[in-house]
């Protein structure tokens, strides 16, 4: 009572006049939103004749930064010098450092050691036979974990043999075998620097943000210009793509090392180097291995894309098939990548979880018992190496024994198209006409100035001036480089896909969270989904719906589904069990328990799931440029094919800006929500 009398008089008057106004006056943000949206609506409807520039950004005002970057890049390659050496010499040196070990691994796994050049080359030492490689992976599986892992690995590699993907797979494996360790080491060193120096961490964090949000195509161009069209370029691009999470995980893992352990290091008098390599890194190893797993998976994700700038192997096969519209061949090679991904994923996960061996009572006396797997592998390599000389089938799997599924896939596509063409086509057309195209038209008709200002308001209401300024500056940057319309197409496709992914994924997540058995099935399913390289999603989609926005949308939804499910289920499952019990004791029905307790508390986590869904959608969307979307992704792809560095980078940065705006807004919202719930 006392506090109502303290309120300003006019508020009480409005309160008596209308409850709606009273509600609004107590919530200035809501009021501001209503006024702003109304104003934007009026401007959108009537403003075009008055201020055309606010709808279509005049070309004369455009900032031609793209050309300048391209020019700078040319200068860098042709003229830049660091005194002792030129920039071109620097890139050649890096190139040599990567190429040398790659050639060795490639010789071992695929080509054999050659003498002489080109077609005159003579093989001196053959590569490892397929039997030897399979035997090695089986031994590694046994050594790292158990016979189950071993059987899985052996099965995966035998699949590659039997289905005729061996040669390409070994080329791919060679580049992975170089890109992953190099990427891990470089990322580890950067991460250690970041751990040591707060200043350095502050400097690299935004760079990492950009590296993870700028679409791959954008930096393929400068890499291509610097290193040329060859496997080295592909590995450099792969490393750039795969490193950021490892850098972050390294910093996190080192920070998580208990204070007691670092104190111990100091107390026994460790030097800085000893502290890093004898105390910190070994203690953080389990977490670091999670990072290594990430690097492997991201590298595999890049296999196909990297073949655009010179990687051979399975990725090249997929890309070539896709270009020929040879669906069967594409699927065969695509599945082979998935098989390789599954094998390497399970192997690296097992290595991450592997505890140091248990104590051994006695030291074995002879070398066979001490290193049984190593001895076994050496024996197989030697025996098959010699036997391969006499019988080619041991060296190379006989082609006559391979099985091909290509024609089968081709037949399947033909069958589906003959029998279901009308249904699929009418479904596609209905969605296009009623949802996709109207939404796209609506977004394209919006005045950019209103969108920029509304984003600013959103930023202000969630995170005050800093966020407001960030949103407005980034969105205006997209306007000023003249990519507004393309950006709107990106937002339209991304928005629709995200909504669809959430509509499908969140109910699945909610259901799975309530039922342990269902959860286990769903978890396996989404784990597998996330193992698939993004490119693989395109194949069946193109097969069924051909090229266009609709196909892109389906692929994006499929790719972005996993986080929507995972975060929802995880959010609900991690609600404090005491609160759930409190709800039950208070007499909630299961439905009330879900809506009034669990979902409310899981909301911040679900928001983060939405965030991840958006991030994955954007990264997939760029790749769908290959199936004919007309958005920022296509812009980067065009830049790639014409080697226009600047345009690619600018379009890529625009995608990153969209991602950053969405990320910061959602994060700020989730943080506020969490603070209100007292979860932090």
């Amino acid at each position: 009572m006392a506090d109502t009398s303290l309120r300003p008089r006019f508020e009480r008057d409005t309160a008596s006049a209308s409850p709606v106004f009273a509600w609004l006056f107590r919530r200035p943000t809501a009021l501001a939103w209503i006024i702003a949206l109304f104003a934007a609506g009026v401007f959108w409807w009537f403003g075009k004749p008055l201020a055309g520039w606010a709808f279509k950004y005049p070309t004369a005002w455009k900032w031609g930064i793209g050309k300048e970057i391209t020019g700078a890049m040319e200068w860098l390659m042709n003229e830049a010098t660091f005194g002792l050496f030129t920039f071109r010499q620097l890139t050649r040196a890096i190139s040599a450092v990567i190429e040398f070990p790659y050639d060795i691994v490639l010789s071992i796994l695929s080509t054999g050691f050659l003498s002489g050049q080109g077609s005159q080359a003579v093989q001196i030492v053959p590569p490892l036979s397929w039997i030897a490689v399979v035997a090695i992976v089986i031994a590694v599986g046994l050594h790292v974990k158990d016979w189950k892992l071993s059987a899985l690995l052996g099965g995966c590699f035998l699949y590659l043999v039997v289905f005729g993907q061996w040669d390409s797979a070994m080329v791919t494996l060679s580049s992975i075998a170089i890109a992953v360790p190099l990427g891990v080491v470089v990322a580890l060193l950067i991460g250690i620097l970041g751990y040591r120096s707060l200043w350095f961490e502050r400097a690299i964090t935004p760079v990492l943000d950009l590296m993870q949000t700028v679409p791959v195509f954008a930096y393929l161009v400068p890499v291509l210009v610097m290193f040329g069209f060859n496997p080295v370029s592909a590995m450099v691009a792969t490393m750039i793509y795969a490193m950021p999470p490892m850098v972050r995980i390294t910093m996190l893992a080192l920070r998580q090392v208990p204070g007691d352990i670092t104190d111990l290091g100091t107390m026994v008098g460790c030097t800085r180097l000893q502290m890093t390599w004898k105390v910190l890194v070994p203690s953080a190893m389990p977490t670091l291995m999670v990072g290594v797993n990430q690097v492997i998976m991201l590298s595999l994700n890049m296999v196909i894309i990297a073949s655009m700038i010179g990687a051979g192997g399975l990725g090249f096969d997929v890309l070539a098939s896709l270009r020929r519209l040879d669906i069967g061949g594409g699927i065969e090679a695509g599945v082979a990548i998935v098989v390789l991904a599954i094998a390497l994923d399970r192997l690296s996960q097992a290595m991450a979880r592997k505890a140091p061996a248990s104590h051994t009572e006695t030291q074995p006396d002879n070398i066979v018992r001490k290193y049984p797997y190593t001895v076994f592998c050496c024996a197989v390599v030697a025996v098959t190496g010699v036997a391969g000389v006499f019988w080619a089938g041991i060296q190379d799997y006989p082609e006559a024994w391979t099985v091909t599924t290509g024609p089968m896939w081709g037949e399947l596509v033909k069958y589906i198209n003959i029998n279901f063409y009308d249904q699929l086509e009418s479904f596609k057309t209905a969605l296009l006409l009623n949802v996709l195209i109207p939404f796209k038209r609506f977004l394209l008709s919006l005045p950019w100035i209103a969108v920029v200002l509304l984003l600013g308001l959103a930023g202000y209401s969630l995170g005050r001036w800093r966020l407001a300024l960030l949103c407005m500056v980034l969105s205006f940057a997209i306007v000023t480089v003249g990519l507004w319309a393309k950006a709107m197409v990106t937002i339209y496709l991304c928005g629709i896909s995200v909504v669809a992914a959430c509509l499908i994924g969140m109910p699945i997540g909610i259901l799975a969270a309530q039922n342990e058995r269902l959860w286990r099935v769903v978890q396996t399913f989404i784990d597998t989904l996330q193992t698939l390289p993004s490119f693989v999603y395109l194949l069946p989609v193109v097969m069924l719906f051909r090229v266009g926005d609709f196909s892109a949308m389906i692929a994006v939804i499929a790719y972005a589904l996993a986080p929507a499910i995972r975060y929802t289920a995880h959010g609900i499952r991690q609600v404090d069990p005491q609160l759930v019990e409190a709800g039950i004791v208070s007499g909630c029905t299961p439905f009330q328990l879900l809506t009034k307790v669990k979902l409310k508390l899981a909301f911040p986590e679900i928001m983060l799931g939405l965030n991840q869904t958006i991030m994955l959608s954007l990264s997939m969307l760029v790749i769908t440029a290959l199936v004919g979307t007309r958005d920022l992704g296509q812009e980067t792809l065009i830049a790639l094919t014409r080697a226009r560095t600047g345009d690619g980078i600018v379009a890529g940065l625009c995608v990153a800006f969209i991602a950053i705006i969405a990320d910061r807004l959602i994060r700020a919202g989730a943080d506020r929500m969490r603070a209100r719930l007292g979860l932090q």
């Binding site: 107390m267 000893q274 070994p282 190893m285 104590h359």
Partner: protein, 343 residues
């Protein structure tokens, strides 16, 4: 008691956390109360702590969580840089030592045991114990031989090839103790070494610790939040509260003459008979031996509780004998009973 050398001296050590801590300390006369410090937006972890640890004694720093005891012990080894003060180790001011000198001092003269063991998960028991020597660059065979000796000393022989995760908590802390002793330190810090163990094991480890000290005679700074542990193990105790030191004294001093209400609060429930020596209840010996002679002899240092049964059995006073065999006083059954009744 023979005069012992001063091994470690802390003079007016301060540790304040927060921006501008040094200028805050510099400008005033350093008699800041905890409230002054809070007002300046700082956290006063250690305030004006002065401690002298004598060679060969067990010096226990006791305080509840947040009292600054862990910060103080970390200041002593410069794991944490004190904001102000002086720390003299064998007369050398550690705060003036260069980083290199500190590394040498830590490598050869200090050992530390941690509350949560801080064992390196990737090394075996042997590797962990030998680790301080490995860091110094000692040859593998030499350091492993040394490690094996200490592992035997702490009773873990046969477990050399085990990994930390394969051991129980008590065993893990034995490894921690062995590791801290590997370099034969002169100064041994134990930071709540038994707090993470369950009560039965804790008791066992305390006995083990006393046994080791009987053999080794190290200078020990022992941190605990457990008052019973403090009076059980300590030669002398410092009680800390809000970063300051409330009282330093022998367990007996604390019980008989608590300096503050805070200390009295701790000692209230302590069984006096276990802490007080017979000297605190003895009367001066009369010139003549009592009628019927003394019932027997007790040493002056014995705790009342330990002598009670013997003295209570006879209705005659007992002679109290000093360290050199001289009669220093007498004690009657009534005096002992009185002390026992007081609790």
């Amino acid at each position: 008691m023979a005069e012992r050398a001063e091994k470690l001296v802390c003079n007016a050590v301060w540790k304040l956390f927060g921006p501008g801590a040094e200028s805050f300390l510099g400008k005033a006369d350093r008699s800041h109360s905890i409230d002054d410090i809070k007002q300046a937006g700082l956290i006063g972890a250690v305030r004006d702590a002065s401690i002298t640890v004598l060679e060969g004694e067990i010096f226990v720093i006791m305080g509840l969580s947040g009292s600054g005891k862990s910060t103080l012990v970390r200041c002593m080894s410069r794991l944490i840089e004190p904001t102000a003060g002086e720390i003299l180790f064998d007369g050398q001011d550690l705060l003036q030592a260069t980083a290199r000198e500190m590394v040498e001092i830590r490598r050869h003269k200090m050992g530390m045991v941690f509350q949560h063991f801080a064992l390196l998960p990737h090394l075996t028991v042997l590797g962990n114990v030998a680790f301080p020597l490995e860091v110094q660059g000692v040859d593998r065979s030499v350091r492993e031989a040394r490690a094996r000796e200490i592992i035997e000393l702490v009773g873990l022989e046969g477990r050399e090839t085990y990994y930390p995760r394969e051991l129980s908590g008590g065993q893990q802390q034995r490894v921690g103790i062995a590791r801290s002793l590997a370099v034969e330190p002169e100064l041994w810090f134990l930071d709540e070494p038994f707090s993470a163990l369950d009560p039965l094991i804790r008791r066992e480890m305390q006995d083990e610790f006393l046994r080791l000290q009987n053999v080794l005679h190290k200078t020990i700074v022992f941190i605990t939040h457990d008052f019973d542990e403090a009076i059980r193990l300590a030669d002398r105790v410092a009680i800390m509260k809000d970063g300051g030191i409330d009282q330093i004294g022998t367990p007996e001093d604390l019980v008989v003459r608590p300096a503050t209400d805070y200390v009295a609060e701790f000692t209230k429930d302590v069984s006096r008979a276990k802490v007080l020596s017979i000297a605190s209840v003895m009367a001066p010996a009369p010139d003549q031996a009592p009628k019927g002679g003394y019932g027997g002899e007790v040493p002056v240092g014995i705790k009342i509780g330990e002598a009670a049964r013997q003295i209570g059995a006879l209705d005659r006073p007992f002679a109290v004998i000093g360290g050199d065999g001289q009669l220093v006083g007498q004690v009657t059954r009534e005096a002992v009973v009185e002390a026992l009744i007081q609790g």
